[in-house]
C-alpha cells in the first residue's frame, strides 16, 4: 500500500529525464504543476476540459491530457513534455512541413505524434486519423499536420 497523500505533499517524477520533486496540493493538476512549478510552459492550457489536446504530455510514453491528471497520479512515473522532445522526429517533421500557424496547439500535437510513433511506428492511415482526432488546431493546419505525420512515419513503413 502506498501512503495516502494528505491535502499537500511532495511528489517525485522523472520529467524529461531528470528527477524532480515538487510540493503540491493533492488536488493539483499535472498541467499546472508542470507550468507553474517546473517552468515547463510548452505544455499549454487550452480548454482545460480534456477536449483540445494542447496540454498533452507523455506519461510512460503514452499521451495524456495533463489537465485531466492529478499530479499525484504521476508520482514515480516518467513524464515527457515538448521541452524533452527537441530534435525528435515529430518536431523535425512539423518544422519541415510548416505544420502550424499560430503555434499554440503545436506542442500538444507533436507530443501526441511522438506517442503515436512510440506505440505504432508503422501506423496505418486509420490509426493516424484516430490519434490526430485528440487534438484541435483552431488555425486548421490539419493538411500540413497530416503531411508531417506521414513523413515522420514513412521511414518506419519502408522498413522491410
Amino acid at each position: 500500500m502506498r501512503e495516502p497523500m494528505p491535502a499537500a505533499d511532495s511528489v517525485e517524477m522523472e520529467v524529461n529525464g531528470e528527477k524532480r520533486r515538487v510540493n503540491v496540493r493533492a488536488s493539483s493538476l499535472l498541467l499546472h504543476t508542470l507550468r507553474n512549478m517546473l517552468g515547463l510552459t510548452g505544455c499549454k492550457p487550452g480548454c482545460e476540459n480534456g477536449d483540445c489536446g494542447a496540454c498533452t504530455v507523455l506519461v510512460e510514453g503514452l499521451p495524456m491530457k495533463s489537465c485531466l491528471m492529478l499530479t499525484a497520479e504521476a508520482n514515480g512515473r516518467k513524464v515527457t513534455t515538448i521541452e524533452g522532445l527537441a530534435n525528435s522526429p515529430a518536431t523535425y517533421a512539423f518544422a519541415k512541413n510548416q505544420a502550424f500557424q499560430c503555434g499554440y496547439c503545436t506542442p500538444g500535437f507533436i507530443v501526441n505524434c511522438e506517442g503515436l510513433r512510440n506505440a505504432y511506428p508503422q501506423a496505418d492511415l486509420e490509426t493516424v486519423r484516430l490519434w490526430l482526432e485528440s487534438n484541435i488546431c483552431r488555425c486548421t493546419s490539419y493538411e500540413e499536420i497530416h503531411a508531417a505525420v506521414q513523413e515522420m512515419l514513412a521511414g518506419y513503413r519502408r522498413t522491410p
Binding site: M1, R2, P4, M5, P6, A7, A8, R25, A26, S27, S28, L29, H32, E48, N49, G50, G53, T56, L62, P63, M64, K65, C67, L68, M69, L70, A72, E73, N112, G115, R129, L130, W131, E133, S134, N135
Partner: protein, 277 residues
C-alpha cells in the same frame, strides 16, 4: 484548477479500498472512488463534484485484470478504454469503447469509469447488457457477483461505499454476429445522437441504446416486437419506438423528432445487417 483541497489514497486491494472509504466517510470527508478520474476532475473544476478525498482504484490487481478465466472474459474496471480496444477480446465492446471521447482521453478513461460515470451515455455498458454479463461489486460485505440486469437501471445502482471491481462475460457471446453504430451531430468525436448496439443470438436480435433517452438501456418489450418476423421491418421499428422506456432526448445535440428519425434508420440498418447473418 480544482477549487478545493482533497486527500489522495491508493489502496492495494479491494478490502483496503472499502476500509478507506468507511474511515473517510466517518471523518466527514465524503470520499469518492477514482479510476481514470477524467469526469471527476472535469466536474470538480466546475464545482459540480466536491469531495475531501479520492480513493484511486488503479493499483488494485482485481480492477486491472483483462483475461479469459475459464468460460468467462474478465475485464477490470480500471482497464483503460484504449488498452481494452488494443487487446480486443470482445470486438463489439471495442467498437463501443472506441466511440468514447478521443484516443488520448481513452488512455485515461477507464471501462468502469465510463459505466459508473454521471455523464448519461455510458456506452461501454451496452455490450454488457446484450450479453447478460455479470458485474463484480465490492463493499461492506466483501465482493458479490450479480447479473448486470439486477443492478443496472439506466445507471449502476451501487450501495453506499460499493464500487465496480470487474465484469464477467460468457465467452460464447464473443464470436456472435454484431452491429454497432454511433451517430453524432458532427465528426468522429463527441456524444451520440443515437448509438445502437445489437447482437444476434439463437436467431433472435438483441438491441441496446444510448443517446436516445436520458439513460442507456436494453428493453424486452422492444426486442419482442423487433423479433416478430410476421410484421414487416419498418412496422416492427415503428412499434418498437412506441415502446421506448422513457422520453426521447431533446437537446442541443438533436431535436427529439430528428433523434426518432435517426433511431429508426439505425435500427433498420441493424436489422438488415444482422437478419442476413
Amino acid at each position: 484548477m480544482i477549487p478545493f483541497d482533497l486527500e489522495y489514497y491508493v489502496p492495494a486491494d479491494v478490502s483496503e479500498a472499502y476500509d478507506w472509504f468507511r474511515k473517510l466517510q466517518e471523518q466527514g470527508k465524503d470520499p469518492v472512488y477514482y479510476s481514470g478520474g477524467t469526469e471527476i476532475l472535469t466536474f470538480a473544476r466546475l464545482n459540480r463534484v466536491r469531495t475531501g478525498a479520492v480513493i484511486d482504484l488503479k493499483a488494485i490487481p482485481d480492477c486491472r485484470s483483462l483475461q479469459m478465466s475459464g468460460q468467462l472474459l474478465e475485464i477490470g474496471s480500471c482497464v483503460s478504454l484504449s488498452d481494452l480496444c488494443a487487446a480486443n477480446p470482445f470486438p463489439l465492446l471495442s467498437l463501443a469503447a472506441r466511440g468514447v471521447a478521443d484516443q488520448t482521453s481513452r488512455n485515461k478513461i477507464t471501462f468502469g469509469g465510463n459505466i459508473c460515470g454521471r455523464i448519461i451515455y455510458r456506452e461501454a455498458v451496452l455490450p454488457l447488457l446484450l450479453t447478460d454479463s455479470a458485474v463484480v461489486l465490492a463493499g461492506e460485505n466483501g465482493m458479490r457477483a450479480v447479473s448486470i440486469h439486477e443492478v443496472f437501471e439506466g445507471r449502476l445502482k451501487l450501495r453506499k461505499g460499493e464500487f465496480l471491481v470487474k465484469t464477467l462475460t460468457d465467452i460464447r457471446f464473443l464470436p456472435l454476429p454484431y452491429y454497432h453504430e454511433k451517430r453524432r451531430k458532427i465528426g468522429h468525436v463527441g456524444y451520440p445522437i443515437v448509438t445502437v448496439a445489437a447482437l444476434k443470438k439463437d436467431g433472435k436480435l438483441r438491441m441496446a441504446f444510448s443517446g436516445v433517452c436520458a439513460f442507456p438501456f436494453r428493453s424486452d418489450p422492444m426486442e419482442q416486437v423487433l423479433n416478430d418476423s410476421s410484421i414487416p421491418p419498418h412496422k416492427r421499428i415503428e412499434e418498437a419506438i412506441g415502446r421506448l422506456p422513457g422520453p426521447v432526448l431533446d437537446d442541443i445535440e438533436s431535436s427529439a423528432p430528428y433523434r426518432r428519425f435517426l433511431l429508426a434508420r439505425t435500427m433498420a440498418d441493424a436489422i438488415q445487417s444482422l437478419e442476413s447473418r
